[in-house]
Each structure stands twice: as structure tokens, then as C-alpha cells.
Symmetry: C2
């Protein structure tokens, strides 16, 4: 029952893979050269920073970030080691815990957004008109089998007053 994909679909697939890895590489390199940790750290700090009281259950973080459980667990280890977050006991469920972002964590997240947003502008914004960016998003969404909400970085709001 397996049909061959069209050459158009195959071509789109190949470009998706290659362009993404290339652009991601560029952005990660820029961050690294500016002395920052990997993007995954930023994502985690961002999620924590926008949680109601700066804390989340690891399992929530895992679902927000769409990464596997063990990966979350070890990412938290690293954040804690660096003093960017701390573990707090969870009284209502003794299996669990809360992870709370520290001041250092919030501060790093903000500083990273400076470099990160500049990289997005450099590698995406400057190459695509807003209209084309919207078209690209729309097409990608169709591939994203129940891909969830796709929240924007919180800082985007700072530059876009109206909602």
C-alpha cells in the first residue's frame, strides 16, 4: 500500500532537512561564539520564566518542550549545576518535584534573547518578507501532525505591543 512520494514532496523533504540543520547550526554557532549555552537551555529557561511562579513540574517542561523524559531530567541537572534553576520539593505529590528558575536563570534567559533574536533576524527575518514568513509557517503547520500550540518567545511581546 505504499505509494511513492512525488518528486515535489521528496524535494521539499530534502530541503526541509538540509535548510533546518544549516540554519540551526548558524544560530547555535552565533550563540556559542557569544559565550552562551545551547538553545535547549534557553527553551527551558523561557518555559520556566513564564510559568506562574517561575516553577514547573519536570513533566510539564517535558510536554512543553516536546523532548523525552530522560532528556528533561538531565537538562534540569545541568541547569541546577549552573545555578540557573533549583529543585523544590512537591508537597502534594511526593514522587514529583518543582523546578524553579533562579534570578541568574532569568537574567541569562534575557541576555540570551538578545543574541538569539539577532540571529533569527539575521538568518530568517532578513531573508523573508513578513508575508513570506507567514506563508512558510502555514505550509509547515500542515506537516506538523497535531503539533500543538507553538508558542512564541515571551520577549516577542515586548516588541509587539498589540497582542
Amino acid at each position: 500500500m505504499k505509494r511513492k512520494p512525488s518528486t515535489e514532496a521528496t524535494s521539499a523533504w530534502i530541503r526541509l532537512m538540509r535548510v533546518q540543520s544549516r540554519v540551526l547550526d548558524c544560530v547555535e554557532q552565533d550563540l556559542k561564539k557569544a559565550g552562551f549555552p545551547p538553545l535547549a537551555w534557553y527553551d527551558a529557561l523561557l518555559e520556566l520564566s513564564r510559568a506562574p511562579s517561575g516553577e514547573l513540574r519536570p513533566v510539564e517542561l517535558e510536554r512543553q518542550m516536546l523532548i523525552p523524559q530522560y532528556s528533561t531530567s538531565r537538562l534540569i541537572d545541568r541547569l541546577v549545576d549552573e545555578g540557573l534553576a533549583c529543585r523544590r520539593e512537591c508537597k502534594i505529590d511526593k514522587r514529583g518535584q518543582f523546578v524553579e528558575i533562579t534570578e541568574a536563570g532569568r537574567e541569562l534567559q534575557k541576555r540570551m534573547w538578545g543574541a538569539y533574536s539577532a540571529a533569527i533576524e539575521k538568518y530568517v527575518g532578513s531573508k523573508l518578507s513578513d508575508a513570506d514568513a507567514v506563508k512558510l509557517s502555514g505550509l509547515l503547520d500542515r506537516l506538523g501532525c497535531s503539533c500543538g500550540e507553538m508558542k512564541l518567545p515571551v520577549h516577542v511581546n515586548e516588541t509587539t505591543p498589540s497582542r
Copy 2:
């Protein structure tokens, strides 16, 4: 001199990252469940199989696949360990070598294309019309800073006689 990216660019960036990793995961899972090795092996076997006499210098493979040198070196190790390729001495440059695909390698590459093409159809082809796939390719290309040729898998030709 760093401008903030538009929310549209940021949104496109986020979707690009998330959709790609999601779709890639799905495809890799399908291949793994069918008992096949990772996609990188397929890419290498494909490049080798379409080289003039089934052999390439590692440095060529590296440039085709856009992966770092040490990565190529170890990928070749694994292919050789599995009997999918073999190293041959390079008489004209004693530093170098040739890597030649074996019959087992060619055969695996063909079998993998069966599962691989089915996965592309399932996760990309079935979700996008040909016209939309072309639009997506075009938009992605604009991000692909001097991204090179983007060759299609050779098997595509088997199903598309006219060029």
C-alpha cells in the same frame, strides 16, 4: 546593529525547528521499526552508489553530505564494519583513500529506499499538494544561504522518467 526579528519571522523559525524535528523523528522511527540503520547511513550509501564507479574519497563524501570530517570518518568505519563498504588505497595520493560501496551496500540502499520513500509519502506527500510542496521548497531555498545543489535521491528518477 541588531534588529529584532518580526514576530512572523520568529514564528516561522520556531515552526521550522519543531516541524522538522517532529517529521524527522517520525521518519527515523519508521525506518528503525523496519529494522534499518539511521538515515545518515542511507545518505552515505546513496552518494557512494551514484558515484562513477561506486567509490568516493572521504573528503568528497564529506562535502556531499555537508557533515564534518570526523563524522564522515566514523560513519565510514561503521559502514565498513557492517560490510556495506570497503576502503581501498588511493594510489595517486597516499594520504587519502577511496571508499567503495559493496554489493550488500547497494542492496541495503535499495531496500531502505522502499521504507524511506513510503515514510516521505506518509509524512510529507500526503499532507501537501504538489503545488504546495513546490511553494514550500521555494521558501526554504531562500533561507538556505548558498545551500548547494540539493540533489534528489537517485531512485526518484525511476519513478519519474522525464528528467
